[in-house]
Amino acid sequence: MISESIVPLFVAVPLAGAFLTALLKRVRGIPDILGVMSSFSGFVLSVFFLVRMQAERTVLVLNVGNWGGFQEVMGRIVGIQMVVDGFTIFMLLIVNFVAFLVAVYSVSYMTRYTDKWQFHTLFLLMLAGMNGVLVTGDMFNLFVFVEVASIASYALVGFGTGKRELEASFKYAVMGGVASLLILLGIIFLYSATGTLNMGDMKTVLSEWSVQPALIYLVFGLFLAGFGLKAAIVPFHAWLPDAHPSAPAPISAMLSGVLIKALGVYAIARVFITVFGFPRQVSIILLVLAAISMGVGALVALRQWDMKRLLAYSSISQVGYIMLGFGIGTPLGIMGALFHLFNHSMFKSLLFLDSGAVEYATGTRNMKEMGGLARKMPVTSGSTLAGAMSLAGIPPFAGFWSKLVIIVAAVQAHHMKLAAWAVLMSIVTIAYVLKVTRFAFLGELREKFRDIREVPALMRIPLIILALMCIFGGLLLVPQVRDVLLSPAVRVLAENGGM
Protein backbone atom coordinates (compact mmCIF):
# COMPACT_ATOMS: atom_id res chain seq x y z
CA MET A 1 0.00 0.00 0.00
CA ILE A 2 1.23 3.44 -0.88
CA SER A 3 1.00 5.04 2.55
CA GLU A 4 3.35 2.57 4.25
CA SER A 5 6.05 3.26 1.73
CA ILE A 6 6.07 6.99 2.47
CA VAL A 7 6.68 6.59 6.20
CA PRO A 8 10.48 7.03 5.78
CA LEU A 9 9.79 10.49 4.34
CA PHE A 10 9.38 11.73 7.94
CA VAL A 11 13.12 11.19 8.30
CA ALA A 12 14.19 11.63 4.69
CA VAL A 13 12.63 15.04 4.03
CA PRO A 14 14.31 16.89 6.93
CA LEU A 15 17.58 15.05 6.23
CA ALA A 16 17.47 16.08 2.58
CA GLY A 17 16.57 19.61 3.66
CA ALA A 18 19.58 19.67 5.99
CA PHE A 19 22.03 18.61 3.30
CA LEU A 20 20.54 20.88 0.63
CA THR A 21 20.79 23.79 3.07
CA ALA A 22 24.47 23.05 3.58
CA LEU A 23 25.00 22.79 -0.19
CA LEU A 24 23.07 25.90 -1.16
CA LYS A 25 24.17 28.06 1.75
CA ARG A 26 25.48 30.82 -0.53
CA VAL A 27 22.15 31.38 -2.28
CA ARG A 28 20.24 34.08 -0.45
CA GLY A 29 17.03 33.00 1.23
CA ILE A 30 17.43 29.31 0.36
CA PRO A 31 18.28 28.14 3.92
CA ASP A 32 15.18 29.90 5.27
CA ILE A 33 12.90 28.49 2.58
CA LEU A 34 14.27 24.97 2.98
CA GLY A 35 13.96 25.11 6.76
CA VAL A 36 10.34 26.20 6.63
CA MET A 37 9.33 23.93 3.75
CA SER A 38 10.89 20.76 5.22
CA SER A 39 9.20 21.16 8.57
CA PHE A 40 5.93 22.14 6.88
CA SER A 41 5.99 18.99 4.74
CA GLY A 42 6.52 17.00 7.92
CA PHE A 43 3.35 18.54 9.30
CA VAL A 44 1.41 17.85 6.07
CA LEU A 45 2.61 14.23 6.16
CA SER A 46 1.45 13.76 9.74
CA VAL A 47 -1.97 15.22 8.90
CA PHE A 48 -2.14 12.83 5.94
CA PHE A 49 -1.44 9.87 8.21
CA LEU A 50 -3.97 11.12 10.74
CA VAL A 51 -6.68 11.22 8.05
CA ARG A 52 -5.71 7.81 6.72
CA MET A 53 -5.69 6.31 10.18
CA GLN A 54 -9.24 7.57 10.64
CA ALA A 55 -10.34 5.73 7.53
CA GLU A 56 -8.55 2.43 8.11
CA ARG A 57 -7.99 2.18 11.86
CA THR A 58 -4.99 -0.07 11.46
CA VAL A 59 -1.38 0.10 12.50
CA LEU A 60 0.90 0.75 9.55
CA VAL A 61 4.05 -1.35 9.48
CA LEU A 62 6.82 -0.91 6.95
CA ASN A 63 9.68 -3.37 6.57
CA VAL A 64 12.58 -1.13 5.61
CA GLY A 65 14.63 -2.54 2.74
CA ASN A 66 12.03 -5.25 1.99
CA TRP A 67 13.37 -7.67 4.58
CA GLY A 68 9.77 -8.68 5.28
CA GLY A 69 10.00 -11.81 3.12
CA PHE A 70 12.67 -13.28 5.39
CA GLN A 71 10.19 -13.34 8.24
CA GLU A 72 8.74 -16.69 7.17
CA VAL A 73 12.16 -18.23 6.54
CA MET A 74 13.72 -17.14 9.81
CA GLY A 75 10.62 -17.39 12.00
CA ARG A 76 11.16 -13.89 13.33
CA ILE A 77 11.35 -10.33 12.08
CA VAL A 78 14.52 -9.49 10.21
CA GLY A 79 15.56 -5.93 9.51
CA ILE A 80 14.24 -2.63 10.73
CA GLN A 81 10.52 -1.95 10.96
CA MET A 82 8.83 1.40 10.98
CA VAL A 83 5.54 1.45 12.85
CA VAL A 84 2.88 4.16 12.74
CA ASP A 85 0.10 3.80 15.30
CA GLY A 86 -2.16 6.26 17.11
CA PHE A 87 0.48 7.28 19.67
CA THR A 88 3.08 7.85 16.94
CA ILE A 89 0.76 10.03 14.89
CA PHE A 90 -0.21 12.08 17.93
CA MET A 91 3.46 12.77 18.68
CA LEU A 92 4.37 13.36 15.03
CA LEU A 93 1.64 15.99 14.75
CA ILE A 94 2.90 17.86 17.81
CA VAL A 95 6.58 17.68 16.84
CA ASN A 96 6.12 18.77 13.24
CA PHE A 97 3.57 21.47 14.07
CA VAL A 98 5.86 23.09 16.65
CA ALA A 99 8.89 22.64 14.39
CA PHE A 100 7.11 24.40 11.53
CA LEU A 101 6.13 27.39 13.68
CA VAL A 102 9.62 27.58 15.18
CA ALA A 103 11.15 27.50 11.68
CA VAL A 104 8.95 30.43 10.61
CA TYR A 105 9.90 32.32 13.78
CA SER A 106 13.61 31.77 13.35
CA VAL A 107 13.64 33.29 9.84
CA SER A 108 13.51 36.72 11.50
CA TYR A 109 14.99 35.88 14.88
CA MET A 110 18.16 34.19 13.68
CA THR A 111 19.30 37.26 11.73
CA ARG A 112 20.95 38.26 15.03
CA TYR A 113 23.45 35.44 14.52
CA THR A 114 25.97 34.82 11.77
CA ASP A 115 25.90 31.66 9.65
CA LYS A 116 22.17 31.17 9.65
CA TRP A 117 22.46 28.18 7.30
CA GLN A 118 24.25 26.20 10.01
CA PHE A 119 21.31 26.82 12.29
CA HIS A 120 18.84 25.49 9.71
CA THR A 121 21.03 22.45 8.97
CA LEU A 122 21.29 21.49 12.63
CA PHE A 123 17.62 22.27 13.22
CA LEU A 124 16.53 19.95 10.41
CA LEU A 125 18.92 17.22 11.58
CA MET A 126 17.36 17.44 15.02
CA LEU A 127 13.89 17.23 13.48
CA ALA A 128 14.93 14.19 11.43
CA GLY A 129 16.22 12.51 14.58
CA MET A 130 13.02 13.19 16.50
CA ASN A 131 10.76 11.98 13.70
CA GLY A 132 12.95 8.88 13.44
CA VAL A 133 12.56 8.15 17.15
CA LEU A 134 8.80 8.38 16.74
CA VAL A 135 8.35 6.15 13.70
CA THR A 136 10.88 3.43 14.41
CA GLY A 137 9.85 0.03 15.73
CA ASP A 138 13.37 -1.20 16.37
CA MET A 139 15.33 -0.75 19.59
CA PHE A 140 18.76 -0.10 18.13
CA ASN A 141 17.30 2.18 15.49
CA LEU A 142 15.66 4.12 18.30
CA PHE A 143 19.09 4.58 19.90
CA VAL A 144 20.59 5.81 16.61
CA PHE A 145 17.85 8.40 16.09
CA VAL A 146 18.08 9.51 19.73
CA GLU A 147 21.76 10.17 19.08
CA VAL A 148 21.12 12.04 15.81
CA ALA A 149 18.70 14.37 17.58
CA SER A 150 20.90 14.69 20.69
CA ILE A 151 24.14 15.56 18.92
CA ALA A 152 22.35 18.17 16.79
CA SER A 153 20.84 19.63 19.97
CA TYR A 154 24.23 19.78 21.77
CA ALA A 155 25.55 21.86 18.90
CA LEU A 156 22.44 24.06 18.84
CA VAL A 157 22.71 24.80 22.57
CA GLY A 158 26.22 26.12 21.97
CA PHE A 159 25.19 28.04 18.85
CA GLY A 160 25.88 31.46 20.35
CA THR A 161 29.49 30.37 21.15
CA GLY A 162 29.66 32.71 24.14
CA LYS A 163 31.11 31.64 27.48
CA ARG A 164 27.79 30.54 28.90
CA GLU A 165 26.60 28.79 25.78
CA LEU A 166 29.78 26.72 25.45
CA GLU A 167 29.74 25.78 29.12
CA ALA A 168 26.09 24.71 28.99
CA SER A 169 26.67 22.82 25.77
CA PHE A 170 29.63 20.92 27.24
CA LYS A 171 27.67 19.99 30.34
CA TYR A 172 24.75 18.85 28.20
CA ALA A 173 27.01 16.90 25.82
CA VAL A 174 28.75 14.99 28.63
CA MET A 175 25.52 14.16 30.47
CA GLY A 176 23.72 13.33 27.25
CA GLY A 177 26.64 11.16 26.15
CA VAL A 178 26.56 9.17 29.39
CA ALA A 179 22.75 8.84 29.09
CA SER A 180 23.15 7.43 25.60
CA LEU A 181 25.68 4.90 26.85
CA LEU A 182 23.25 3.74 29.54
CA ILE A 183 20.49 3.39 26.94
CA LEU A 184 22.79 1.41 24.63
CA LEU A 185 23.86 -0.82 27.52
CA GLY A 186 20.21 -1.50 28.34
CA ILE A 187 19.49 -2.35 24.71
CA ILE A 188 22.44 -4.78 24.62
CA PHE A 189 21.22 -6.54 27.77
CA LEU A 190 17.73 -6.81 26.30
CA TYR A 191 19.10 -8.14 23.03
CA SER A 192 21.18 -10.78 24.79
CA ALA A 193 18.16 -11.84 26.85
CA THR A 194 15.51 -11.88 24.11
CA GLY A 195 17.55 -12.40 20.95
CA THR A 196 15.69 -9.72 19.01
CA LEU A 197 15.77 -5.98 18.55
CA ASN A 198 12.24 -5.55 17.22
CA MET A 199 9.95 -4.00 19.84
CA GLY A 200 6.95 -6.16 18.95
CA ASP A 201 9.03 -9.36 19.03
CA MET A 202 10.63 -8.28 22.28
CA LYS A 203 7.22 -7.82 23.83
CA THR A 204 6.15 -11.30 22.75
CA VAL A 205 9.32 -12.91 24.12
CA LEU A 206 9.07 -11.01 27.42
CA SER A 207 5.41 -11.88 27.93
CA GLU A 208 6.15 -15.60 27.41
CA TRP A 209 8.51 -15.73 30.38
CA SER A 210 6.77 -16.92 33.50
CA VAL A 211 9.49 -15.57 35.79
CA GLN A 212 11.17 -12.24 35.13
CA PRO A 213 14.92 -12.69 35.51
CA ALA A 214 16.94 -10.27 37.61
CA LEU A 215 18.51 -8.97 34.41
CA ILE A 216 15.24 -7.23 33.53
CA TYR A 217 15.46 -5.06 36.63
CA LEU A 218 18.93 -3.97 35.61
CA VAL A 219 17.50 -3.01 32.20
CA PHE A 220 14.71 -1.04 33.91
CA GLY A 221 17.30 0.89 35.88
CA LEU A 222 19.46 1.62 32.83
CA PHE A 223 16.49 2.80 30.75
CA LEU A 224 15.04 4.89 33.56
CA ALA A 225 18.37 6.64 34.07
CA GLY A 226 19.11 6.99 30.35
CA PHE A 227 15.74 8.17 29.09
CA GLY A 228 15.15 9.99 32.39
CA LEU A 229 18.25 12.09 31.67
CA LYS A 230 16.90 12.90 28.21
CA ALA A 231 13.51 13.80 29.71
CA ALA A 232 15.14 15.80 32.55
CA ILE A 233 13.24 14.13 35.38
CA VAL A 234 14.66 14.94 38.81
CA PRO A 235 17.35 13.68 39.82
CA PHE A 236 18.58 13.61 36.21
CA HIS A 237 17.71 17.22 35.44
CA ALA A 238 20.97 19.10 36.10
CA TRP A 239 21.70 19.87 32.44
CA LEU A 240 18.33 21.37 31.53
CA PRO A 241 18.35 24.69 33.46
CA ASP A 242 21.69 25.54 31.82
CA ALA A 243 21.08 24.17 28.35
CA HIS A 244 17.60 25.53 27.65
CA PRO A 245 18.27 29.19 28.54
CA SER A 246 21.63 29.20 26.74
CA ALA A 247 20.23 28.06 23.40
CA PRO A 248 18.81 30.62 20.95
CA ALA A 249 15.10 31.19 21.73
CA PRO A 250 13.69 29.06 18.87
CA ILE A 251 15.88 26.17 20.01
CA SER A 252 14.84 26.62 23.64
CA ALA A 253 11.29 26.32 22.37
CA MET A 254 12.14 23.15 20.44
CA LEU A 255 14.11 21.62 23.33
CA SER A 256 11.56 22.33 26.03
CA GLY A 257 8.50 21.96 23.84
CA VAL A 258 9.35 18.88 21.87
CA LEU A 259 12.80 17.33 22.29
CA ILE A 260 12.55 16.27 25.94
CA LYS A 261 9.19 14.71 25.08
CA ALA A 262 10.21 12.88 21.92
CA LEU A 263 13.50 11.52 23.30
CA GLY A 264 12.49 11.21 26.94
CA VAL A 265 8.80 10.94 27.65
CA TYR A 266 7.82 9.19 24.40
CA ALA A 267 10.70 6.73 24.72
CA ILE A 268 9.85 5.95 28.37
CA ALA A 269 6.19 5.42 27.50
CA ARG A 270 7.00 3.33 24.44
CA VAL A 271 9.60 1.13 26.10
CA PHE A 272 8.03 0.65 29.52
CA ILE A 273 4.37 0.55 28.55
CA THR A 274 4.28 -1.15 25.17
CA VAL A 275 7.39 -3.35 25.39
CA PHE A 276 7.55 -4.26 29.09
CA GLY A 277 3.78 -4.13 29.68
CA PHE A 278 4.19 -1.49 32.40
CA PRO A 279 5.45 -3.45 35.41
CA ARG A 280 4.23 -2.28 38.79
CA GLN A 281 7.67 -1.45 40.19
CA VAL A 282 8.31 0.95 37.33
CA SER A 283 4.99 2.71 37.78
CA ILE A 284 5.75 3.30 41.47
CA ILE A 285 9.22 4.68 40.66
CA LEU A 286 7.69 6.91 37.99
CA LEU A 287 5.10 8.25 40.45
CA VAL A 288 7.78 9.06 43.04
CA LEU A 289 10.10 10.71 40.51
CA ALA A 290 7.16 12.62 39.03
CA ALA A 291 6.16 13.97 42.44
CA ILE A 292 9.75 15.06 43.19
CA SER A 293 10.12 16.65 39.73
CA MET A 294 6.88 18.60 40.12
CA GLY A 295 7.99 19.97 43.49
CA VAL A 296 11.65 20.73 42.77
CA GLY A 297 10.96 22.31 39.38
CA ALA A 298 8.17 24.56 40.62
CA LEU A 299 9.89 25.69 43.83
CA VAL A 300 13.20 26.49 42.16
CA ALA A 301 11.42 28.28 39.33
CA LEU A 302 9.88 30.59 41.91
CA ARG A 303 13.22 32.21 42.78
CA GLN A 304 14.57 32.71 39.26
CA TRP A 305 14.95 36.17 37.73
CA ASP A 306 16.20 35.09 34.33
CA MET A 307 13.00 34.64 32.30
CA LYS A 308 14.28 31.66 30.29
CA ARG A 309 15.77 29.97 33.34
CA LEU A 310 12.44 30.25 35.13
CA LEU A 311 10.71 28.66 32.14
CA ALA A 312 13.34 25.90 32.04
CA TYR A 313 12.70 24.95 35.68
CA SER A 314 9.00 25.11 34.96
CA SER A 315 9.55 22.51 32.21
CA ILE A 316 11.00 20.10 34.77
CA SER A 317 7.92 20.59 36.91
CA GLN A 318 5.48 20.15 34.02
CA VAL A 319 7.22 17.00 32.75
CA GLY A 320 6.61 15.76 36.29
CA TYR A 321 2.87 16.20 35.69
CA ILE A 322 3.11 14.22 32.45
CA MET A 323 5.03 11.40 34.13
CA LEU A 324 2.47 11.41 36.95
CA GLY A 325 -0.27 10.71 34.42
CA PHE A 326 1.72 7.86 32.87
CA GLY A 327 2.64 6.54 36.31
CA ILE A 328 -1.02 6.28 37.34
CA GLY A 329 -1.40 4.01 34.34
CA THR A 330 -5.19 3.98 34.06
CA PRO A 331 -6.63 4.95 30.64
CA LEU A 332 -7.76 8.26 32.14
CA GLY A 333 -4.30 8.92 33.58
CA ILE A 334 -2.64 8.17 30.25
CA MET A 335 -5.11 10.43 28.48
CA GLY A 336 -4.32 13.20 30.95
CA ALA A 337 -0.61 12.66 30.41
CA LEU A 338 -0.91 12.83 26.62
CA PHE A 339 -3.21 15.83 26.78
CA HIS A 340 -0.84 17.64 29.12
CA LEU A 341 2.04 16.69 26.84
CA PHE A 342 0.22 18.37 23.96
CA ASN A 343 -0.58 21.46 26.03
CA HIS A 344 2.91 21.72 27.43
CA SER A 345 4.35 21.61 23.89
CA MET A 346 2.10 24.49 22.92
CA PHE A 347 2.45 26.80 25.91
CA LYS A 348 6.10 26.16 26.66
CA SER A 349 7.20 26.71 23.05
CA LEU A 350 5.04 29.83 23.05
CA LEU A 351 6.57 31.16 26.26
CA PHE A 352 10.13 30.51 25.11
CA LEU A 353 9.39 32.20 21.78
CA ASP A 354 7.91 35.13 23.73
CA SER A 355 11.02 35.35 25.90
CA GLY A 356 12.99 35.42 22.65
CA ALA A 357 10.78 38.22 21.34
CA VAL A 358 11.37 40.22 24.54
CA GLU A 359 15.11 39.64 24.26
CA TYR A 360 14.95 40.61 20.58
CA ALA A 361 13.32 43.92 21.43
CA THR A 362 14.99 44.85 24.72
CA GLY A 363 18.22 42.86 24.72
CA THR A 364 17.73 41.48 28.21
CA ARG A 365 16.30 38.38 29.87
CA ASN A 366 16.48 39.69 33.42
CA MET A 367 12.94 40.37 34.60
CA LYS A 368 14.17 42.95 37.13
CA GLU A 369 15.18 45.19 34.23
CA MET A 370 11.91 44.84 32.35
CA GLY A 371 8.50 46.29 33.09
CA GLY A 372 5.63 47.87 31.23
CA LEU A 373 6.35 46.06 27.99
CA ALA A 374 2.63 45.38 27.48
CA ARG A 375 2.04 48.82 25.98
CA LYS A 376 4.91 48.61 23.54
CA MET A 377 4.58 44.94 22.56
CA PRO A 378 0.87 44.05 22.54
CA VAL A 379 1.18 40.79 20.58
CA THR A 380 4.06 39.47 22.66
CA SER A 381 2.45 40.35 25.95
CA GLY A 382 -0.97 39.08 24.89
CA SER A 383 0.41 35.74 23.74
CA THR A 384 2.56 35.45 26.87
CA LEU A 385 -0.56 35.98 28.92
CA ALA A 386 -2.37 33.19 27.04
CA GLY A 387 0.59 30.83 27.47
CA ALA A 388 1.06 31.77 31.11
CA MET A 389 -2.60 31.24 31.96
CA SER A 390 -2.51 27.86 30.23
CA LEU A 391 0.65 26.96 32.19
CA ALA A 392 -0.90 28.12 35.45
CA GLY A 393 -4.03 26.10 34.79
CA ILE A 394 -6.59 28.89 34.83
CA PRO A 395 -9.91 27.85 33.28
CA PRO A 396 -10.87 27.89 30.43
CA PHE A 397 -7.30 27.75 29.10
CA ALA A 398 -6.04 24.39 27.82
CA GLY A 399 -3.65 23.69 30.69
CA PHE A 400 -6.49 23.68 33.20
CA TRP A 401 -8.29 20.79 31.51
CA SER A 402 -5.24 18.56 31.24
CA LYS A 403 -4.22 19.14 34.85
CA LEU A 404 -7.81 18.47 35.87
CA VAL A 405 -7.85 15.16 34.01
CA ILE A 406 -4.56 14.10 35.64
CA ILE A 407 -5.76 15.04 39.12
CA VAL A 408 -9.12 13.30 38.63
CA ALA A 409 -7.26 10.21 37.43
CA ALA A 410 -5.05 10.32 40.53
CA VAL A 411 -8.11 10.53 42.77
CA GLN A 412 -9.82 7.66 40.95
CA ALA A 413 -6.73 5.51 41.38
CA HIS A 414 -6.73 6.33 45.12
CA HIS A 415 -3.50 8.32 45.01
CA MET A 416 -4.98 11.01 47.24
CA LYS A 417 -1.68 12.40 48.45
CA LEU A 418 -0.36 12.70 44.89
CA ALA A 419 -3.54 14.48 43.79
CA ALA A 420 -3.21 16.94 46.67
CA TRP A 421 0.47 17.47 45.85
CA ALA A 422 -0.40 18.14 42.19
CA VAL A 423 -2.99 20.74 43.23
CA LEU A 424 -0.52 22.38 45.63
CA MET A 425 2.19 22.56 42.98
CA SER A 426 -0.19 24.08 40.46
CA ILE A 427 -0.75 26.89 42.98
CA VAL A 428 3.04 27.41 43.11
CA THR A 429 2.90 27.42 39.31
CA ILE A 430 0.42 30.29 39.39
CA ALA A 431 2.83 32.18 41.65
CA TYR A 432 5.82 32.01 39.32
CA VAL A 433 3.69 32.62 36.26
CA LEU A 434 2.36 35.81 37.85
CA LYS A 435 5.97 36.82 38.49
CA VAL A 436 6.63 36.74 34.73
CA THR A 437 3.56 38.72 33.74
CA ARG A 438 3.86 41.16 36.63
CA PHE A 439 7.54 42.07 36.31
CA ALA A 440 7.98 41.83 32.55
CA PHE A 441 4.78 43.17 31.09
CA LEU A 442 2.90 45.19 33.69
CA GLY A 443 4.05 48.16 35.73
CA GLU A 444 5.97 51.25 34.63
CA LEU A 445 7.82 51.34 31.34
CA ARG A 446 11.52 52.06 31.84
CA GLU A 447 13.04 55.13 30.25
CA LYS A 448 15.61 53.16 28.24
CA PHE A 449 12.89 50.99 26.65
CA ARG A 450 10.88 53.96 25.41
CA ASP A 451 11.77 53.35 21.76
CA ILE A 452 11.35 49.58 21.57
CA ARG A 453 9.04 48.19 18.96
CA GLU A 454 6.96 45.05 18.46
CA VAL A 455 8.82 42.18 16.77
CA PRO A 456 8.55 41.59 12.97
CA ALA A 457 5.49 39.88 11.45
CA LEU A 458 7.23 36.55 10.82
CA MET A 459 7.86 36.31 14.56
CA ARG A 460 4.36 37.49 15.48
CA ILE A 461 2.44 34.92 13.40
CA PRO A 462 3.77 31.81 15.23
CA LEU A 463 3.11 33.57 18.55
CA ILE A 464 -0.51 34.21 17.61
CA ILE A 465 -1.10 30.65 16.33
CA LEU A 466 0.40 29.10 19.47
CA ALA A 467 -1.59 31.46 21.69
CA LEU A 468 -4.79 30.34 19.95
CA MET A 469 -3.78 26.71 20.61
CA CYS A 470 -3.37 27.59 24.30
CA ILE A 471 -6.80 29.21 24.46
CA PHE A 472 -8.74 26.61 22.49
CA GLY A 473 -6.63 23.54 23.32
CA GLY A 474 -9.31 22.41 25.76
CA LEU A 475 -11.45 21.52 22.73
CA LEU A 476 -9.32 18.39 22.39
CA LEU A 477 -11.56 16.91 25.07
CA VAL A 478 -14.73 17.37 22.99
CA PRO A 479 -15.74 13.79 22.08
CA GLN A 480 -15.60 14.29 18.30
CA VAL A 481 -12.06 15.71 18.45
CA ARG A 482 -10.96 13.30 21.15
CA ASP A 483 -11.89 10.29 19.02
CA VAL A 484 -9.62 11.54 16.27
CA LEU A 485 -6.53 12.56 18.22
CA LEU A 486 -6.35 11.46 21.84
CA SER A 487 -8.30 8.22 21.99
CA PRO A 488 -6.28 6.25 19.39
CA ALA A 489 -3.07 7.24 21.20
CA VAL A 490 -4.51 6.28 24.60
CA ARG A 491 -5.75 2.97 23.18
CA VAL A 492 -2.25 2.00 22.03
CA LEU A 493 -0.85 2.51 25.53
CA ALA A 494 -3.80 1.33 27.61
CA GLU A 495 -4.12 -1.97 25.72
CA ASN A 496 -0.58 -2.85 26.68
CA GLY A 497 -0.68 -1.45 30.17
CA GLY A 498 -2.80 -4.23 31.59
CA MET A 499 -3.92 -2.11 34.52
Binding site: K163, L166, E167, V174, G177, V178, L185, I188, Y191, P241
Partner: protein, 117 residues
Amino acid sequence: MNAHMPYILCLILFCIGIYAVLSKRNIIKIILGVVIAEYAVNLFLILVAYKAGGRAAIFSTTEHIAPQSMVDPLPHALVLTSIVIGLATTAFMIALAIRLYGKYGTFDITRMRELRG
Protein backbone atom coordinates in the same frame (compact mmCIF):
# COMPACT_ATOMS: atom_id res chain seq x y z
CA MET B 1 40.77 -18.53 33.67
CA ASN B 2 37.25 -17.80 34.72
CA ALA B 3 34.73 -17.59 31.87
CA HIS B 4 33.26 -14.44 33.40
CA MET B 5 36.60 -12.67 33.38
CA PRO B 6 36.08 -10.67 30.14
CA TYR B 7 32.72 -9.39 31.41
CA ILE B 8 34.22 -8.30 34.72
CA LEU B 9 37.10 -6.52 32.97
CA CYS B 10 34.56 -4.83 30.72
CA LEU B 11 32.60 -3.66 33.76
CA ILE B 12 35.80 -2.33 35.37
CA LEU B 13 36.59 -0.42 32.20
CA PHE B 14 33.10 1.09 32.21
CA CYS B 15 33.46 2.10 35.87
CA ILE B 16 36.84 3.73 35.17
CA GLY B 17 35.20 5.80 32.45
CA ILE B 18 32.27 6.88 34.61
CA TYR B 19 34.65 7.63 37.50
CA ALA B 20 36.70 9.91 35.25
CA VAL B 21 33.55 11.74 34.08
CA LEU B 22 32.36 12.29 37.62
CA SER B 23 35.56 13.18 39.45
CA LYS B 24 38.01 14.79 37.02
CA ARG B 25 38.30 18.56 36.72
CA ASN B 26 40.14 18.72 33.42
CA ILE B 27 37.80 18.85 30.42
CA ILE B 28 40.06 16.63 28.32
CA LYS B 29 40.08 13.99 31.05
CA ILE B 30 36.28 14.13 31.23
CA ILE B 31 36.10 13.58 27.47
CA LEU B 32 38.52 10.67 27.80
CA GLY B 33 36.25 9.26 30.51
CA VAL B 34 33.27 9.34 28.15
CA VAL B 35 35.38 7.68 25.44
CA ILE B 36 36.58 4.92 27.81
CA ALA B 37 33.05 4.19 29.00
CA GLU B 38 31.90 4.11 25.39
CA TYR B 39 34.63 1.60 24.45
CA ALA B 40 33.57 -0.57 27.37
CA VAL B 41 30.00 -0.61 26.03
CA ASN B 42 31.22 -1.42 22.52
CA LEU B 43 33.39 -4.21 23.90
CA PHE B 44 30.42 -5.58 25.79
CA LEU B 45 28.36 -5.55 22.59
CA ILE B 46 31.01 -7.72 20.93
CA LEU B 47 31.17 -10.03 23.97
CA VAL B 48 27.44 -10.66 23.70
CA ALA B 49 27.97 -11.98 20.18
CA TYR B 50 30.89 -14.21 21.16
CA LYS B 51 30.51 -17.95 21.14
CA ALA B 52 33.28 -20.27 22.27
CA GLY B 53 34.80 -21.86 19.17
CA GLY B 54 32.37 -19.95 16.94
CA ARG B 55 33.13 -19.16 13.32
CA ALA B 56 32.55 -16.16 11.11
CA ALA B 57 28.96 -16.00 9.90
CA ILE B 58 29.75 -16.67 6.22
CA PHE B 59 28.03 -19.45 4.33
CA SER B 60 30.18 -21.26 1.82
CA THR B 61 29.47 -23.69 -1.03
CA THR B 62 32.63 -25.75 -0.51
CA GLU B 63 32.31 -26.36 3.20
CA HIS B 64 29.18 -26.98 5.22
CA ILE B 65 29.00 -24.91 8.41
CA ALA B 66 25.98 -25.21 10.65
CA PRO B 67 24.46 -21.84 11.59
CA GLN B 68 24.58 -22.92 15.24
CA SER B 69 28.37 -22.87 15.24
CA MET B 70 28.58 -19.32 13.95
CA VAL B 71 28.98 -16.23 16.10
CA ASP B 72 26.04 -13.82 16.07
CA PRO B 73 26.82 -11.32 13.29
CA LEU B 74 24.23 -8.70 14.26
CA PRO B 75 26.15 -7.09 17.19
CA HIS B 76 29.14 -6.68 14.87
CA ALA B 77 27.00 -4.58 12.59
CA LEU B 78 25.59 -2.65 15.55
CA VAL B 79 28.99 -1.91 17.04
CA LEU B 80 30.10 -0.24 13.81
CA THR B 81 27.17 2.16 14.05
CA SER B 82 27.88 2.73 17.71
CA ILE B 83 31.55 3.53 17.01
CA VAL B 84 30.60 6.06 14.34
CA ILE B 85 28.15 7.74 16.74
CA GLY B 86 30.88 7.78 19.36
CA LEU B 87 33.22 9.45 16.87
CA ALA B 88 30.67 12.22 16.27
CA THR B 89 30.17 12.80 20.01
CA THR B 90 33.91 12.81 20.70
CA ALA B 91 34.72 15.13 17.82
CA PHE B 92 32.01 17.52 18.96
CA MET B 93 33.17 17.53 22.58
CA ILE B 94 36.80 18.12 21.58
CA ALA B 95 35.75 21.01 19.33
CA LEU B 96 33.87 22.44 22.31
CA ALA B 97 36.93 21.96 24.53
CA ILE B 98 39.03 23.99 22.09
CA ARG B 99 36.46 26.80 22.04
CA LEU B 100 36.19 26.71 25.84
CA TYR B 101 39.95 26.98 26.15
CA GLY B 102 39.85 29.99 23.86
CA LYS B 103 37.25 31.69 26.05
CA TYR B 104 38.50 30.81 29.52
CA GLY B 105 42.21 30.12 28.96
CA THR B 106 41.97 26.95 31.04
CA PHE B 107 40.73 23.37 30.85
CA ASP B 108 39.70 23.37 34.51
CA ILE B 109 35.93 22.81 34.75
CA THR B 110 35.73 24.31 38.26
CA ARG B 111 36.87 27.69 36.90
CA MET B 112 33.99 27.82 34.41
CA ARG B 113 31.21 29.08 36.58
CA GLU B 114 29.13 31.45 34.53
CA LEU B 115 26.01 29.41 35.14
CA ARG B 116 24.51 28.86 38.53
CA GLY B 117 21.20 28.99 40.38
